[in-house]
Symmetry: C2
Subunit: 367 residues, 2 copies
DNA sequence: CGCGAGTGAGAGAGCGCTCTCCGAGCATCG
DNA sequence: CGATGCTCGGAGAGCGCTCTCTCACTCGCG
């Protein structure tokens, strides 16, 4: 009775490591075995109680939970996932096609609220579900391969994918490996994979309608990078809406979604078309830059030139004057993507389906 | 020879799940065993080669790597960490003292570039080190307990902690459990835990010096929340610097680090002290708000009133006029915190040490 | 020529958990 | 009253890996 195990010794001081002042650290966390011993049942029963499978006698049930509380038991995820091949974890993967590596681009990306809003949306669904989130950046092909390998081992159960580069191969790889994944944003090349997106074209149409309603006659566009789907769609939506209202032609200058590029593009546009009275900008950051250029050119916004942005990012509220913009419900989209992912993890047989969110025009002062 | 194992069967089609069109998915990823068999050595040897421990005959070495490539082997993290009690993972923990739960606060937090900049800094160190990142939000006491339990199991090897609430108990819990952790930002109550921070007091002094240099005579401050260390330190630094220059008294209005609170505080301050000619604002977001209030009150910035912010966040560049501000090198701080953490994980005996970064004044147009 | 030291590879015991079998106990029914 | 089915707990076999222990073999030195 004594000596060997049984009275799960709080005593044994053991080594206690070097950390040591006053740390309690009974040097190993309790295991299922410990709980079982204390409750006087088998490991299997404790496991059943904890995972709530099958009927267990209510009395035993109580005894087991008491033992869990008493020991402060927490399941070992590694051990569990080794056998279940489930991790209880979802990966948020940011995939950048080329190896930018120690690259200023990524820090710019993280500093952009875009990233945080997605994280917030994902978390809002994951947390109540008790699922963990891991963050992965992949740049190189090797990193992509490793990621897929990890996933097949069940290191994570599924992927919310933020693909930053139009010809990213990762979506295809994931599909091929049979890994549950949902994209935030339409993939550049069609793939058998679910995604969420905002109706970019409809959003652009909203902007056009608003500018025309205000009475704008000479409307231009500051577009985004040509190879990005969101940017393409906003352009297409703009063009079609303009055409519908009889404006087959309009001035256009491209930018790359940064504030500086917006400022530069606005200057170019203004130089060529000084008589513009309305402008749609493909995202808020560029719109902010455009506002600066307009201000410097002595144009009053919105009186002389009305400006509509896209995204309703924090930049929109910060702008002077605050930006009228098309709301991009990123948090909701990320949350929905996560819900879809969770459903798909539960049942890989689910059909591929996408959800497109309706954009809403947020009217502030710039138009 | 046939039948049982040996020729690591590519054949066996097996179930192939429901996902199935054309997916290759040889239904289980290769294990060490598979690699060993193909290389004609024991599991132990493959393990040694992969982990680069001890001398292994160069020939075997090559054979093993060839087999690894051929099979596309990727180690199973769960299995590995089960035995090593190391996860190769670091947790970025955002600890909010009370259970805000489905709370607008967190989404505000994530949307703030602060979060993303920290993630970027952490990642920049973790990625080259081949360490994973998991994101954890803890609100309730139960969540904190679970987190500590997970960590003791080695679910993550250490913690970079973002503590949002002054009387958060988590730092103490981590210390007590002997878990490697580094804080970003000085803890509100001293604890035996390493942290990184920016010299907030010195930063405030920089701002004061700049305002005085410009010839400002009547300088006020828009301070942050009283219970936040960073905010306290900026206030203290401001007060002391002012005192050193013979300004024992100065007008002050508190805000809570949001843009709106800055705008409101500025209005109050202006109402009481219409003759202000310089102002230090405890963060850029509030400064942005202050700029709006100043503009509405018809004050020209910087001619009539000079404004200095704090953080050099993206809001500073976006402001009209662009904000002169004290740079808070968050990415660098987060990166350093991560390096410290990694070192500490390697050697828990390391003494607790903190690194304080020097702030730099970034002069733009507002002062 | 013999023996200890040194080197490199294999055998095998777990890490903590889940889950499939089994079997004991009990109720139900012919 | 015996056969049948059902419920519920235990035994034990792994999941894929690491790492200690052991052992075969080589080399150097007395």
């Amino acid at each position: 009775m004594a000596e060997l195990s049984q009275t799960d010794d709080l005593s044994r001081p053991e080594e206690l490591g070097r950390g040591g002042d006053g740390s309690i650290a009974r040097d190993r966390p309790p295991t299922l075995e410990d709980v079982a011993r204390m409750a006087g049942v088998s490991r299997a029963t404790v496991s059943r109680v904890i995972n709530g499978v099958r009927n267990v006698d209510p009395d035993l049930h109580a005894v087991v939970w008491a033992a869990v509380d008493a020991t402060g038991y927490v399941p070992n995820r590694a051990a569990r996932s080794l056998v279940t091949r489930r991790a209880g974890t979802v990966a948020l993967v940011v995939s950048d096609s080329e190896e930018h590596d120690d690259d200023p681009f990524l820090s710019r990306f993280f500093a952009d609220p875009f990233f945080g809003r997605v994280v917030g949306g994902v978390m809002s669904v994951l947390r109540p579900a008790g699922v963990q989130l891991t963050l992965q950046l992949v740049g190189s092909a090797a990193a992509r391969a490793r990621l897929v390998g990890d996933l097949r081992h069940g290191h994570a159960d599924g992927v919310v994918l933020l693909s930053l580069h139009p010809d990213d191969t990762l979506p295809a790889l994931l599909v091929e490996a049979g890994i549950a994944a949902v994209l935030v944003g339409r993939p550049a090349r069609p793939a058998l994979i679910s995604y969420v997106d905002v109706a970019n074209e409809a959003g652009a149409a909203l902007a056009v309608a608003h500018l025309l309603d205000r009475g704008c006659q000479r409307i231009g566009i500051l577009s985004g990078p040509e190879n990005v789907p969101a940017s393409q769609d906003r352009m297409t939506g703009f063009r079609q809406a303009m055409a519908r209202h009889g404006h087959a032609w309009f001035p256009c200058e491209p930018g790359n979604f940064t504030r500086d590029s917006g400022e530069a593009a606005m200057r170019r546009l203004l130089a060529q078309h000084p008589d513009l009275d309305g402008i749609f900008v493909a995202n808020d950051l560029m719109a902010q830059g455009a506002l600066v250029a307009l201000h410097e050119a002595g144009r009053r916004v919105p009186d002389q030139v009305a400006v509509v942005g896209f995204d309703d990012s924090s930049a929109a509220q910060a702008a002077q004057p605050p930006l009228t913009t098309v709301r991009h419900p990123l948090e909701d989209m990320a949350a929905e993507a996560t819900r879809m992912l969770l459903a798909r993890i539960d049942d890989l047989g689910l059909r591929v389906a996408s959800v497109i969110f309706d954009p809403v025009l947020v009217v502030r002062r710039s138009a």
